[in-house]
Symmetry: D2
Subunit: 273 residues, 4 copies
């Protein structure tokens, strides 16, 4: 699936200078290849691009007082692996340590609290893939999508008790339930085609059969329709922006759709002209 994605982020900086990190660029690997990509700041801001060990591509910049608009546009070729038919439990003694870390509790995914619940609800089958699918179905069926009922402090345990939230909260609950079953799971931020209203999306990946597989417990969007931009233990370590300094956050416009146009053979625009 070829997707056209992008965002425009507006800010008003009130301090003499503010520092930003942006994690909105498409990650790139064999599953997400870049056809075209443009990132433009107005006024022009020199940015440092940092690749993290998790594969995130973080922009970092410092901007003086005044307005800032960051605009990102990309065309991404997405090809995800199919989920194996049946997945046996991994031997934790053989999992790479960097994977094993995603079975541990984190700020928003207190998986240690979910253990008895998870085994009772999802322990009937031994197929790990089916367990993750059952978790997604349960989350979709039992949580109520309710914007503005949760905030940046809300954790999976809070959502479990309140039974409502947004995509971020759905993802946290699903991750906590996976980890409670010792299935490595991590938080994913991304662009998702077909979202209404269009916005950044949160979903998650589970490690099944030796590979990470993407799941969307909120809207059931297919993995090929999602472009990953951040990965981490939860929203605390996979945030899209970090701001240091007094800054007023302005409008956010996000786009993501199947690429329908014809790829021009003449560059549509260039940095130097």
């Amino acid at each position: 699936m070829i997707l056209s994605v992008g965002c425009t982020l507006g800010y008003q900086i009130h301090a003499p200078i503010a520092a930003f990190t942006f994690n909105v660029l498409a990650n790139t690997d064999a599953q997400q290849r870049i056809v075209r990509e443009t990132m433009i700041g107005t006024p022009e801001v020199p940015t440092e691009q940092i690749a993290t060990t998790k594969g995130n591509r973080v922009l970092r910049t410092e901007v003086p007082q005044g307005p800032l608009e960051l605009r990102y546009e990309a065309i991404i070729d997405v090809n995800r692996p199919a989920l194996p038919a049946v997945v046996k439990a991994d031997n934790p003694g053989r999992l790479p340590l960097s994977i094993l870390t995603y079975t541990l509790p984190s700020r928003y995914c207190e998986s240690d609290r979910f253990s008895p619940i998870a085994w009772e609800l999802f322990g009937q089958t031994e197929d790990r893939a089916e367990q993750v699918r059952a978790i997604c179905r349960w989350v979709d069926a039992n949580l109520k999508y309710a914007p503005r009922t949760t905030d940046a402090r809300t954790s999976a345990w809070d959502v479990w008790q309140g039974r409502q939230g947004v995509c971020r909260d759905y993802a946290h609950v699903a991750i906590a339930l996976c980890r409670a079953l010792s299935i490595p799971a991590r938080y994913v931020g991304g662009y998702a085609a077909g979202l209404t209203p269009m916005d950044f999306h949160a979903c998650f990946e589970a490690y099944l059969g030796g590979e990470w597989h993407l799941f969307d417990p909120t809207d059931g969007i297919a993995p090929d329709q999602i472009v990953v931009i951040s990965r981490g233990r939860d929203a605390a370590s996979a945030g899209l922006t970090t701001i240091f300094g007094k800054v007023q956050i302005g409008p956010v416009v996000v786009t993501c759709a199947p690429f329908a146009g014809v790829l021009s053979t003449t560059p549509a625009g260039s940095a130097a002209t």
Copy 2:
């Protein structure tokens, strides 16, 4: 210094499919920040962008039979640290191992062969910075710039004996001499403003006073006028392109100049239009 850099690389692929890696994107860190960047392949080729441990940003792609043109353009804000006045020898027992590795001989820089030579020529001073400057002066004064006298097999030792070569050869000799004095040194490929004729350039970095510093032994171009695109032990591990498959290499156009224009506040072009 704000530089406008870029290249256009043409190929004709004769095999059903060919695999490429391109290492022509500006590295990015606090010394090289990106104002704008565009990379466009014609026909459209999805690429995977890989960050190496040395900071190189490698594009990898597979392309079917036919023509390929890769065009890269960027505006880069370059700020290099000043060289300290006097630099004492590092205690090798305290250097990070990842730095110490750049004191070892490599394919094109047989520093083990240069030890007596280097100490005789440059051992009078104990100031490590002055030693590197003296090496640059010596290389510039004693080698003859002579295109097509050397090739992809020519090593520093070959150049030492033949006393001629191109920027790549100058860099290899300078690196071998630095390492022979136990000064960590690494090969740098880049864009350089003021080069005649314009082309990709090769120079090197020496580790002095706890930091890497850039030197150009061929043309004496100032560090702020150079945009680094590849780093490695020598040209063998810092090559700009690797091609797998039957491919005819076409015209290469390289640009690098101080950015003179006005940075537009309206994006000059965008991926999705």
Copy 3:
């Protein structure tokens, strides 16, 4: 300071096989150099030793049903850097991203909840070093050391409200307060000389003046008297042991004391005899 440290960990494995990770070996860098080290499992268990990106040295092994005793002994030469007199706030736009991550909230350190509290209590001075020292004094003065009042689910926020706990809880509160002030802070597990009763210890490091510095908010043990064995965002990612399978945990004996003996010139014992 030369310290003699060690532990003996006993287990009874009830499953046919159990997998373990042990993070009890001394980390090793310029601040912690190893004079001698022995790790012996009874019955003999082949272990894989894994170095993590944070510098932890993790042992991983699989053990069949029956008893297991792991015994570790080491002599470590500890040399910590002195804290600078006055430390200015870091520019977050310049901090390495791998450091910046330690300003974010984590499972047990919900620093996002502590912000107003931290600035009110510790915002009078601008000296970051003094802020951390004040946090340690506050934690020591206001928390009551009370074993068995907290457990593996207790977070910094819980401790803040309950005002009691053990070294792990003290560390979590101190870390959360540091991060609330945007001071990078991380959890440290280790051996500590002078502890009564002797056990593994938890303390923390704060990033001040370009370097990590060790603080013990519980017992005020000097940094040179502590041997670091694990580092992480909090106890969730810096745990000392992870066990997969049905295992009964037996006696734990920990030792840590200034090395008083004479280092023998004849090896005290050897693997092959």
Copy 4:
């Protein structure tokens, strides 16, 4: 195969202080698990142990004037994967970049010079595993084992022309031939059971079917009888010791044999007694 390995290295330091790195500890991963390990310096020298990205475990230390003896002993459980029956050529467009780097020429393995030779000698079969085996047979049949005919400057191309050398030279030629066929290959230093006379050994690994496999072109020692202690592009980046300062090298004793004894349940010795 459980192997008992070790070495005793003697030095006389003539400078006030000398810096050393030692790369003689067994690497450890799922294929090489450690049952016991002891490293003792006389006089006692605190060492820093550094894990490199290639999996080497490097000791670094500084030692004052006088004698130094380093003694290492370990019991290692070695389990190597079997070579697949037939191995197809890798698609270089899909190989991880960190593997692809081992197809490039290096200081002692000028694979670029060997291309026509390698294809002529070993290009009849398309089975990559058979190509590597044929290279080993060719090297064994056509090189003469001749100590002291080569030295630290001798490269694969030199050996190709002289047709004699030691294990290090055999390995370099085999690696250069593999790389000339685009098979990733890397240099391995290690302990090898059955060597006469006993010494450190050099062999190599080829990347076949998605995994590194060990080959010994000199003595045909089975992979399970070899304990890897260093990996690198060639002897330049996989050296066993590096010495900075005026040091006289004394006797080297190396041991490696199948472990025949009974593993005692009482620790044979301990660091603290």
